[in-house]
Amino acid sequence: MTDLADFSIADAGAGLRSGAFSATELTNAVIHRAAVTEAHLHAYLTLDQDRARQAAIRADAAFAAGEDHGPLQGIPLAVKDNMSTRGMETTAGSKILAGYVPPYNATVVDKLEADHAVILGKTNLDEFAMGSSTENSAYGPTRNPWDTDRVPGGSSGGSAAAVSVGSALAALGSDTGGSIRQPASLCGLVGVKPTYGVVSRYGLIAFASSLDQIGPFARNVRDAATVLESVAGFDIRDATSYRGSTPDISGLLDSGVKGMRVGIVSELSGAGIDTEVQASCRRMYDALADAGAELVDVSLPATEYALSAYYLIAPAEASANLARFDGVRYGLRVDGETTEEMMAATRAEGFGPEVTRRILLGTYALSAGYYDAFYGQAQKVRTLLRNEFAEAYEKVDVLVSPTSPTTAFEIGEKTADPLSMYFADVCTIASNLAGDPSGSVPIDLDASGLPIGFQIMAPALHEAQLFRVAAEVERLAGFTRRPALATSEVKPA
């Protein structure tokens, strides 16, 4: 029999409702999986077994009372550690927030709890979500379940590793420049960044406010839709939250792609993309065509500048967002002779090198005399990019490309060269700048047995189209492989 930890949300939900097993049994199976794999992966920063079991008991009690709060009731999930959880330490992977226990829940956490989901704990990430490998965590890196010498991607590497290995059935991540899609790609998962504003950012520790968006990691497209449906929706506490009715997400999952116009982004398909990745994606384009989609070549010239624009806009916003970490009210405090010295010492000690680099970059980009040349110019690129995307979507229903230029790289491979690390997000960043929804679906393994992800981008609020194509890609790829770490009996460390 399949271990409960490897169940999909849909199958687990059916089992819970049929009485085949309880939420407590399901949660215990997942906690057991974590106990076996954590020493190899370090996916979690906090794994709160007691709290998870309490939540499972509540879910079971609700089932017993005949209450059904929807498909996440009793489902063990993980949350990236940059989302505020009341009573549970929330560090954003930074030393500066060590020991910080929030007095309030992020809206997404409230929503999961309202749906009677079981929150297992908080997953590892690059400090303040700045990175593409989870190596920038102040608490040590997370490893890729497919090859523990390799990175899981980032910044939501902990969530990706946990879902991949079965120490959570699904998880929430956040995506500022690819931080859900790239680790999903590197860990063989479905990962979706929704339209900006569809999921509330209230309680998400901000990296770059105009780009950050919370989304799901899951082992299949339907599960990803289920999690997104739980957390999406207007939130009065987030002024940038989309005020209209929540867009349809799973309504077209079974519709296929016949007659759909699928645009292949030429700028994201050639130079700089690993040849094996390119070949796999090309096979998927052909498969989509065979399934009835019309393929269209699309050029988005501004995407060439997307990475540069992103590395001005995101650090600029971050430089202000991270100013609040000053040792005055919470988190780390390093004493100094004066208040200014205390603040400076706290920040010098509390922030890691990548975070410091981006704060400096952003501060510089916003400085008097440089604003127009840097931040102002980057905003123009952003506008240009949005216009190009809007124009493209007049001709096609979705755009496709590889998610990541390479499969999982080795730990330490890129840490010495920030620019090569930044390039890991080259395919994903444009969707953040445009504010559009985008997702990654696993389609293949490369010769080393590492997953390859396929990116699907859709116009704002057209999540249903995105999931429709994602579901078809999933069917066509028939990708059902799991990492060895999830399937082999590994001894508890």
């Binding site: 940059n82 989302m83 505020s84 929330t90 954003a92 927030l97 910080y100 929030p102 007095p103 309030y104 992020a106 950012r201 209230y202 309680g203 998400l204 520790i205 901000a206 770059a208 406010s209 105009s210 009065i236 506490r237 987030d238 002024a239 940038t240 600029a316 916003e317 430089s319 202000a320 100013a323 609040r324 970490f325 000053d326 005055v328 009210r329 919470y330 208040t339 200014e340 603040m343 501060t363 916003l366 400085s367 008097a368 604003y371 931040y375």
Partner: protein, 483 residues
Amino acid sequence: MTNWEAVIGIETHVELQTKSKMFCGCAVNFNAEPNTTICPVCLALPGALPVPNREAIEGILSIGAAFGCRLVEDSLFHRKNYFYPDLPKNYQISQYDVPLCVDGNLDIDVDGEAVSIGITRVHMEEDTGKSVHGSETGRIHDADFSLLDFNRAGVPLVEIVSEPDIRSPEQAREYAAELQRVVRSLGVSDVRLEEGSVRFDANISVRPEGQAEFGTRAEVKNMNSLRSLQRAVAYEIQRQIGVIEGGGKIVQETRHWDENIGKTSGMRSKEESEDYRYFQEPDLVPLHVNDEWRQRVFDALPELPAARRRRLMDAGVDRQAASTMVEAGDLADLFDTAVGVGADAKLTANWLSGEVVAYLRRNEIGLADTSLAPEHLKELAGMVSDGSLSSTAAKDVLSYVMAGEGNPGDVATAHDLIQISDEGALDAEVDKVLAENPDVLERLSEGDMKPIGFLVGQVMKATRGKADPKLVSELIRGKAQGS
């Protein structure tokens, strides 16, 4: 010798008295225990987000409209970045290049000279928390520790920036005073300098008369009364003239006014001050105020102080009384209702601006704490015009009415203050007094009218003040001529 001209612009910060803070639901309560009206948002906990307060937006729009500003359809919020322990986010959400209200003016009158001061902009921002420094002086330099109270953090602040149109300390004072009256009349803030709900910072420079370009300016802060604003501006003008005439140069800087020694002193040089790195606040969308909303703001404006003073003066009230009543606001309201029910305008205005103000000050209470009603003023004015009450007695009656003793008629009777205007009743009293003072009567008969006051006084004394002194005087004159 050079004639110097002062050029002054004033930046005003007004704390709005909204129910909740600018970007969160915390109560605005200045009497609360420290750090009790705080939440994740105004404390800048990780992940918290701001949401604009509609009531505060309404407040600032009405201020802008009162100054005749253009209300901007899509204004923008920006982040103003600087590190300070009482600024929880280490940036302040403010407005920068596209504020809510632009291009207005405020007309003032100084010693009969009317001046129109331009209002550059009125914008929205949030207040900081308060630092309390553990030192003898209460200043940070020699403090062993600092305590922070974040109750004020995030309270809605309105910044009103004037054009550099002010030319004298007197104008500066009147600009500030009139601005306070206008804002108070809108009911959005009590604008008390002493309590910090309004703060005035003055940008001051001097230039030789006739010169077009501005001199280097200094910003003077920390004036806690209108008088200290006027003094500080006057001092700073003289200081700058002194520096220049002494061959020195004015440094662009912020200067601190010390009320006790009556001087300004440099705080920090603006040249080396921070670059605020303004950029559009990504947590907020542009603030959209549509045509209908803007129209509603203008339609809802109350009568502003200048218009009200003019109307009262047109009704026959003298300038001083009109100013006093409008300044207080509630006195002018009472005046309007009293006149509305038929009270005499002049008498009512004189009482309200004289006796009533004195009574309130004496007892340290507000108008609302008294029992004075519009009908009382009408009745009282009626009693004075029909002669049943002397104007002196009317003031006493007014005090008793304010103290809650009843309506004027009852109070006057109870205190035996009804005037004797009956000739027959007074005749006997006059005769009695004349009989007792034959020598005085003789002087009067001889045309020496000086002692008449003495005789009137005797009659008033005999009637315990109830006699109509005018009538008594006439009766005495008649009898003296006839004798």
